[in-house]
C-alpha cells in the first residue's frame, strides 16, 4: 500500500545471480524454485490434456492413432499427478510457509530441502526424456503385466523418473514433520498451530509412510522389465493383482497428499475472510490426521473388479465410507465458520468457496464409486474421471490458486490486481464445471475412459467438455499473466494486508532471509480475530 512498509532488505534482494538461487538453502527461495518448476510441468501436462480434448471433439479417432492417444493420457496423468499435484501445495506454499508459521528461521534440514528440489527436477527431466524418446502408454497406473511384459514404450524411464521424484516427496515430508515437532517458537503449542500446519503434517505422514512402497513397487517393475523376473507376471507364476495392491497402497493415500494441504489452505482462507476463528478447531485438526490414517486402509476400492474376494471388497467399501466422515466434518466446520462471520468476497475467498463446492461434489461422487454395486457399473468410465478431477483439480488446484493469491503479497511484497483475479476465479469455476460435469453424465451412460473414438451419441457432451477445457485454459493463463505483471506494477502489500493473525504476517513482506527480526513468542490461539482491533484490510 505505502512505500514505508516496504523492507529495504529481504530474502529476494539479499543476494543476486543464478548461483544464489540454484545453491540456496533458504526455504523461501526453494519454494519459488518449486513454483517455477511445477508451473512448467503443469503446462506440459496441460498440453497433453489439450490434445486429448481436441481428439474427443469428434466421435471418430481422426486426430491421433489409438497408440498415440494412449501415450497422451498416460503422460498427462504422470505429469499432473507426480510432478504437479503432489508437490503443489506442500512443496510451494508449504516450503514457504511452514518455517514462517512455526516461527523458525528455516526448515530443520535446509540442504535436504534443496536436494529434494533437485530430485524433482532430475526425476522430471528423466520422465520428459522418456516422453521425447517416444512416450509411455501404460496409463499413469503402470498396471502389470502390460507395463512389465507387453508395452514396448519407455516404461523404465518413466518409472525411474517417478521413483526419483518420490524421494523428493519423502524428504519434503520428513523435513516438515521434524520441523513441526522440533522448531516451534516459544508458546506455539500443538493446539495453537494454524490448521495449514496440521494438514501438511498429516500429508507429510502419508508421504513418509506411503511413498517408499510405491518406490519399491516401481523398482520391481523396472527389474521385471530389465531382468525378466516374474514377480508380477502370471506367466512366470507372479501375481498382477499384487502389483495393484502395492500400487494403490500408495496411490490412494497420494490423493490425500494432494488434498489435505489444500484443505489446510481453505481453513486459513475461510477464517481470515470471515474474521472468525475456525469452528471446531480441534475437530478440523484431528480430521486431517483421521483422513491420513483411514486413507491407508481403503486402497482396495480401486480393485473391486480386479478379482479380489467379495469379503475384502465389503470391508474396503465400508472403510472407504468412513473416510467421508472426517472429510464431511471439515466441510461442515468451514460452513459453520462462515455463520455470522464478517465475510468479504476477495479472490482467495472465491477460490475457497470454489474448493468447498467442487470438493463436496467430488467427495459425494466418491461415495458412488465406493459402493460395490454402483462401482461395477461405473468402473473405467468417465464417471471416475470426472470424480477424481473434481477432487484433484476442483479441490487441490482451486485451493492452490487461492493460497497463491492469499500469500502472494507475502511472497513478493506486491498485491495482485483484484479485479482480474476475481475474474480468473470465476472463469476457472465455470470452465471447470463445463469441462467435467458432462463427464459424470458420459460415464454414467456408459462411455469408457481411455478410448480415442466413441459412438456419435456421446458427441454433444464431449464437445461441451472440450469447450469447457478451453475456458479453463484461459482461466489458468490469466493468473500467470497478472502475477508476473504485479511483480513490477502491483501495489506494495505491507506486512499484513489482510489483517490476518498468523505468524507469517508478523514479519515484513517479503520476509528477511532469517524470517523474523526477533524470534516471535506465541501467547494466543490461532485465528483469534475477536482479540484483534476492529477493521478490515490495508490493501
Amino acid at each position: 500500500m505505502n512505500n514505508v512498509d516496504q523492507p529495504r532488505e529481504h530474502y529476494l534482494n539479499a543476494d543476486y545471480g543464478i548461483k544464489s538461487w540454484l545453491l540456496t538453502t533458504d526455504h523461501k527461495r526453494i519454494g519459488i524454485l518449486y513454483l517455477l518448476l511445477i508451473t512448467f510441468f503443469f503446462f506440459i501436462g496441460g498440453a497433453f490434456a489439450t490434445v486429448i480434448r481436441l481428439e474427443l471433439i469428434t466421435p471418430a479417432g481422426d486426430l491421433l492413432t489409438s497408440d498415440t492417444y494412449n501415450k497422451m493420457f498416460t503422460m498427462h496423468g504422470i505429469m499432473m499427478v507426480f510432478f504437479f499435484l503432489i508437490p503443489s501445495v506442500p512443496a510451494v506454499l508449504g516450503n514457504f510457509l511452514v518455517p514462517l508459521m512455526v516461527g523458525a528461521k528455516d526448515l530443520a534440514f535446509p540442504k535436504i530441502n534443496l536436494l529434494s528440489w533437485y530430485l524433482l527436477l532430475i526425476g522430471g527431466l528423466i520422465t520428459l526424456y522418456s516422453i521425447i524418446a517416444g512416450g509411455v502408454d501404460t496409463g499413469w497406473t503402470f498396471y502389470t503385466p502390460f507395463s512389465t511384459t507387453f508395452s514396448n514404450t519407455h516404461v523404465i524411464g518413466a518409472a525411474v523418473g517417478i521413483l526419483i521424484a518420490g524421494f523428493s516427496s519423502i524428504f519434503t515430508g520428513l523435513n516438515f514433520i521434524v520441523t513441526i515437532h522440533r522448531m516451534r517458537a516459544p508458546g506455539l503449542t500443538w493446539f495453537r498451530l494454524p490448521l495449514f500446519l496440521w494438514s501438511n503434517y498429516a500429508a507429510a505422514i502419508i508421504m513418509v509412510l506411503g511413498t517408499p512402497v510405491v518406490a519399491v513397487t516401481l523398482v520391481l517393475v523396472a527389474l521385471e522389465r530389465v531382468l525378466h523376473i516374474g514377480i508380477f507376471n502370471p506367466a512366470l507364476g507372479g501375481d498382477p493383482v499384487l502389483f495393484q495392491h502395492m500400487f494403490w497402497f500408495y496411490s490412494h493415500p497420494a490423493v490425500y497428499i494432494m488434498v489435505l494441504p489444500a484443505m489446510g489452505v481453505v481453513s486459513e482462507l475461510i477464517s481470515v475472510f470471515s474474521r472468525k476463528s475456525v469452528f471446531g478447531y480441534k475437530f478440523v485438526a484431528f480430521a486431517s490426521v483421521a483422513i491420513a490414517v483411514f486413507g491407508f486402509l481403503v486402497w482396495g476400492h480401486h480393485m473391486f473388479v480386479a478379482g479380489i474376494s467379495v469379503y475384502s471388497a465389503l470391508v474396503f467399501s465400508l472403510l472407504s465410507y468412513l473416510v467421508a466422515v472426517p472429510s464431511a466434518v471439515k466441510v461442515f466446520n468451514w460452513t459453520a465458520t462462515l455463520y455470522k462471520g464478517s465475510i468479504s468476497y476477495r479472490t482467495p475467498m472465491l477460490y475457497a468457496f470454489g474448493f468447498i463446492g467442487l470438493f463436496t461434489m467430488g467427495g459425494l461422487t466418491g461415495l458412488f464409486t465406493a459402493a460395490l454395486g454402483i462401482d461395477v457399473h461405473i468402473t473405467d468410465t468417465y464417471f471416475v474421471v470426472a470424480h477424481f478431477h473434481y477432487i484433484m483439480v476442483g479441490g487441490t488446484v482451486m485451493a492452490y490458486l487461492g493460497g497463491m493469491h492469499y500469500w502472494w503479497p507475502k511472497i513478493t511484497g506486491r498485491m495482485y490486481p483484484e479485479g482480474w483475479a476475481r475474474l480468473s476465479a470465476l472463469v476457472i469455476f465455470l470452465g471447470f464445471n463445463l469441462t467435467f460435469f458432462p463427464q459424470f453424465v458420459l460415464g454414467y451412460v456408459g462411455m469408457p475412459r481411455r478410448y480415442h473414438a466413441y459412438p456419435p451419441e456421446f458427441q454433444v457432451l464431449n464437445v461441451m467438455s472440450s469447450a469447457g477445457a478451453s475456458i479453463l485454459a484461459v482461466g489458468y493463463v490469466l493468473p500467470m499473466v497478472y502475477f508476473l505483471w504485479s511483480l513490477r506494477y502491483g501495489k506494495h502489500a505491507g506486512p499484513n494486508p489482510w489483517g490476518a493473525t498468523g505468524l507469517e504476517w508478523q514479519t515484513t513482506s517479503p520476509p528477511p532471509t532469517h524470517n523474523f527480526h526477533e524470534t516471535p513468542t506465541v501467547t494466543r490461539e490461532p485465528y483469534d480475530y475477536e482479540a484483534l482491533p476492529e477493521g478490515g484490510f490495508d490493501a
Partner: protein
C-alpha cells in the same frame, strides 16, 4: 538476535537456523529415525510381496530355499552382527571423543561390511554357475516341483538380497565419509551425532538381514 548470532560464532558445529546444539542433535536424530521408518516401508513392500508369493507357491519356495547354502548364510550373518558390534564401539568412542578408536572401529566395521558383501557375491556367483539366476538359462530339476515357482523364489531372493546389498554399499560410503570426518578431527565428544546417525542406519540394515536370513534360508528347510 545479536546475542543469538554471537553464540553462533562460539559453537562451531551449530547451524544458524537452530537455537542450540540440543535442538540440532534432537532434530538430526529424529530425522534419521523417520528416515528409517521410510526404509521399513520400502523393504516392507517386498517382504509383503514375498509372503504373498510364498503362500501361493509354497512347495516351489521351500524347494528353492533348500538350494541356498545355509552354512555360508549363517557365517555371513555372524560377520554382519560383528560389524554391528564394532559400530556400537565406534559410536561409544565418538561419545567419549576418542578420535583414534573412532577411526579404528569404523574401519573394522567397514571391513566386516565388505566381508559380508564379498561372501554375498560368492553366493550369487555360485547360483550363477548352477543356473539358478532367473532368466532363459534358469534350470531347476526336482521331481514334483514346477521350475517356474522355484524361479519365482530366486527372483525374490535376488531382488531382496540385492536391495539389501545396495543399502550395505551406501552404508559403506557413509562409513568412509565418517572415517574422513573423524580423521580431520570433525567428531568430538561435543559433536558426534553424524556417527550416531550412521550407526542407526547401519544397525537398521543389519536388522533387515536378520529378517531376510530366516525368510530366505531357514524356514521349511529339510536339511
Amino acid at each position: 538476535m545479536t546475542h543469538n548470532e554471537s553464540s553462533v560464532l562460539q559453537v562451531p558445529n551449530l547451524q544458524s537456523h537452530f537455537g542450540d546444539m540440543a535442538q540440532q542433535k534432537e532434530s538430526a536424530s529424529f530425522g534419521m529415525w523417520l528416515f528409517l521408518v521410510t526404509e521399513i516401508m520400502f523393504f516392507g513392500g517386498v517382504f509383503c510381496a514375498y509372503l504373498v508369493a510364498r503362500l501361493q507357491h509354497f512347495t516351489g519356495f521351500a524347494a528353492g530355499s533348500n538350494h541356498l547354502d545355509v552354512v555360508v548364510g549363517a557365517i555371513n550373518t555372524a560377520v554382519l552382527l560383528t560389524s554391528s558390534f564394532t559400530m556400537v564401539m565406534a559410536v561409544h568412542s565418538a561419545q567419549v571423543g576418542r578420535r583414534r578408536s573412532i577411526i579404528f572401529f569404523l574401519i573394522l566395521t567397514l571391513l566386516f561390511g565388505s566381508a559380508f558383501l564379498g561372501i554375498k557375491g560368492y553366493e550369487w556367483h555360485d547360483h550363477w554357475e548352477k543356473h539358478e539366476v532367473p532368466g532363459p538359462a534358469f534350470h531347476f530339476d526336482e521331481p514334483n516341483i514346477a521350475a517356474s515357482n522355484a524361479q519365482l523364489f530366486f527372483s525374490f531372493y535376488f531382488a531382496m538380497t540385492g536391495l539389501h546389498a545396495l543399502h550395505m554399499v551406501i552404508g559403506a560410503g557413509l562409513l568412509i565419509w565418517m572415517i574422513i570426518k573423524a580423521y580431520g578431527g570433525g567428531i568430538t565428544a561435543d559433536y558426534h551425532s553424524p556417527v550416531e546417525n550412521v550407526g542407526l542406519y547401519w544397525h537398521f540394515v543389519d536388522i533387515v538381514w536378520i529378517f531376510l536370513f530366516p525368510l530366505l534360508y531357514l524356514i521349511s528347510r529339510k536339511h
